[in-house]
């Protein structure tokens, strides 16, 4: 892949990752949120593939393939099954209302641009300029975990964070080594499975997957 089209493709891929993250804050339906997450996984994989093809780096292409399977298909599938179980599968009343969290998302993005200057200066490539997008995605992930009530939304937040970090890694360093990526992926997968088990138990106990219910355990 050559100059301008490489840059455009990379921009579109990285941009799509961020837009998916923002859109997860927009939608209330958990199923839609998980589908957005899947889309984000695909976009992330596309970034890896584009980078890999550009650098003629077989490993990176391999990582891209792994990411597609894991983040684009496997994780969303697991989450969708959790969602399907939950009777009220909507994020009805997040701690911060939707317009405010959208504005906060915008602010976080701008903040990421403001603070990512040094990193961008370190990596003076086309990819390096896009690092703030990954940073913003990660920040949005943390924000989502902080303000959303549903267990699934929390996991989605975690995965947003993970995807953001992965995007920064791809863009800044040309990606983790394959082993690290595989290890991290397995970790996340394990975590999601654990969360799912926990969620199932929560569901059996309280009937909904609302983390505020956990407070009752404390009493």
């Amino acid at each position: 892949m050559s100059g301008p089209s490489f840059a455009t493709a990379l921009e579109l891929g990285a941009g799509a990752v961020l837009v998916c993250a923002v859109l997860t804050m927009w939608r209330r339906s958990l199923a839609a949120i998980v589908r957005l997450l899947a889309l984000q996984g695909v976009a992330l994989a596309a970034v890896a593939l584009v980078l890999g093809l550009h650098a003629r780096d077989g490993v990176l292409v391999g990582v891209g393939a792994v990411v597609v399977v894991e983040k684009g298909v496997a994780l969303p599938a697991v989450l969708l099954r959790v969602v399907a179980r939950d009777t009220s599968s909507r994020e009805t009343a997040p701690l911060v209302n939707v317009p405010a969290s959208l504005v906060a998302t915008g602010a976080l993005t701008l903040l990421a641009f403001a603070v990512a200057g040094p990193v961008v200066a370190l990596v003076p490539t086309v990819a390096g300029r896009l690092v703030p997008l990954g940073l913003a995605t990660a920040l949005i992930g943390i924000f989502a975990m902080a303000v959303r009530r549903r267990a699934v939304s929390q996991i989605v937040g975690l995965l947003l964070l993970d995807n953001g970090i992965a995007l920064v890694a791809f863009l800044a360093t040309g990606g983790f080594p394959l082993v690290v990526e595989l290890g991290a992926s397995l970790d996340v997968l394990l975590l999601v499975v654990v969360a799912r088990v926990l969620g199932t138990r929560l569901h059996e106990r309280f009937g909904v997957l609302d983390l505020d219910e956990l407070r009752e355990l404390h009493d």
């Binding site: 301008p4 921009e11 939707v98 959208l102």
Partner: protein, 320 residues
């Protein structure tokens, strides 16, 4: 002499655009209604029905509610006049419209705002509960649409280094990569949401509702009749056509005439009509599958558009 010729050409362009948008806007409404009917399995009224309605309205008697003042009469005139003014100078058929240098996107937005404001004032002037209700709701939506729209203007203007509307359209023709840039795409997505909100389409407002309590825009114009109602209808449909025209020319700038020649104008008009019709059909099809949102869910939609446009600006910070 040549100055006179140029002036004539400019006037021609303005007249062509105004006639196209005023008449075409009504037909666009007809096309959208037809699309909706067909999707729902009905035959629906003919495409030219809105045009016939307006022709009928023009010859009817004018009725003024007892409490109304001249503001009530001025409302439709200002709505139509702002739409006509912007249409005359917007890059619709050609990217070299009259007064091209002064067709500023920011100014366009605020001129159209003048129309919305005057209609809201006219509605309050009727002294009816429905007028107040419509004005209150429409102004609230407007207050939230305005920021999104200005953010869109910003997102489009930053990479182009100007907020001049014809320049924005020309930029897309000269360099197709601009059209595919993430900033432009995000901004245009937000613009589409804004157009839907601004022109009162689903899911923001149901243009076909006949229940006073759910009306927004229709509640504002409930008291108008005869030629005044015709003006409102023409003005509002022209706004829809105009905004969609600007949208399609920014999203798909190809086919916009580069100059003011007669042949160019003919081709440009045909392409514009086709593009806007496609956009209208797409929106109408989308409307079939959407329900009207609750009023208090609207901030979510508009905040979404606002943030999308801001992301568009942010992405231009990256790619510059």
């Amino acid at each position: 002499m040549s100055a006179l010729v140029r002036l004539g050409a400019a006037a021609c362009v303005a007249v062509v655009q105004v006639l196209l948008v005023a008449g075409g806007g009504l037909l666009l409404l007809g096309v959208m209604r037809k699309t909706r009917s067909r999707c729902e399995g009905r035959v629906g009224p003919p495409v030219r029905q809105p045009l016939l309605d307006v022709v009928k309205l023009v010859s009817k008697q004018r009725i003024r509610p007892a409490a109304a003042s001249p503001v009530f009469v001025a409302g439709p005139v200002v709505v139509a006049a702002t739409a006509v003014l912007v249409t005359a100078v917007a890059p619709l058929v050609t990217s070299d419209p009259p007064l091209a240098r002064s067709t500023d996107f920011f100014a366009v937005v605020l001129v159209l705002l003048l129309g919305s404001v005057s209609l809201a004032l006219a509605a309050l002037d009727t002294a009816t509960p429905f007028g107040g209700m419509g004005a209150s709701r429409a102004t609230t939506i407007g207050a939230l649409t305005e920021p999104a729209l200005l953010a869109v203007v910003l997102a489009l203007s930053v990479p182009a280094r100007t907020s001049n509307l014809p320049a924005l359209v020309r930029e897309g023709i000269v360099d197709p990569r601009v059209v595919a840039s993430p900033g432009r795409i995000l901004a245009l997505c937000a613009f589409l949401v804004v157009i839907v909100a601004e022109t009162g389409r689903l899911p923001v407002d149901n243009p076909q509702t006949h229940l006073e309590l759910t009306m927004i825009h229709e509640a504002m114009v409930l008291e108008y009749s005869g030629p005044d109602l015709a003006l409102v209808t023409v003005g509002e449909s022209a706004r829809l056509a105009l905004l969609l025209g600007i949208f399609v020319n920014l999203a798909v700038p190809w086919g916009v005439a580069p100059g003011r020649g007669a042949a160019e104008l003919a081709v440009g008009s045909a392409v514009l009509v086709a593009k806007v019709a496609i956009a209208g059909i797409a929106i109408a099809t989308f409307e079939v599958f959407t329900a009207k949102l609750r009023l208090f869910r609207l901030p979510e939609v508009l905040a979404g558009a606002f943030v999308l446009a801001l992301l568009g600006v942010a992405s231009t910070l990256v790619t510059r």
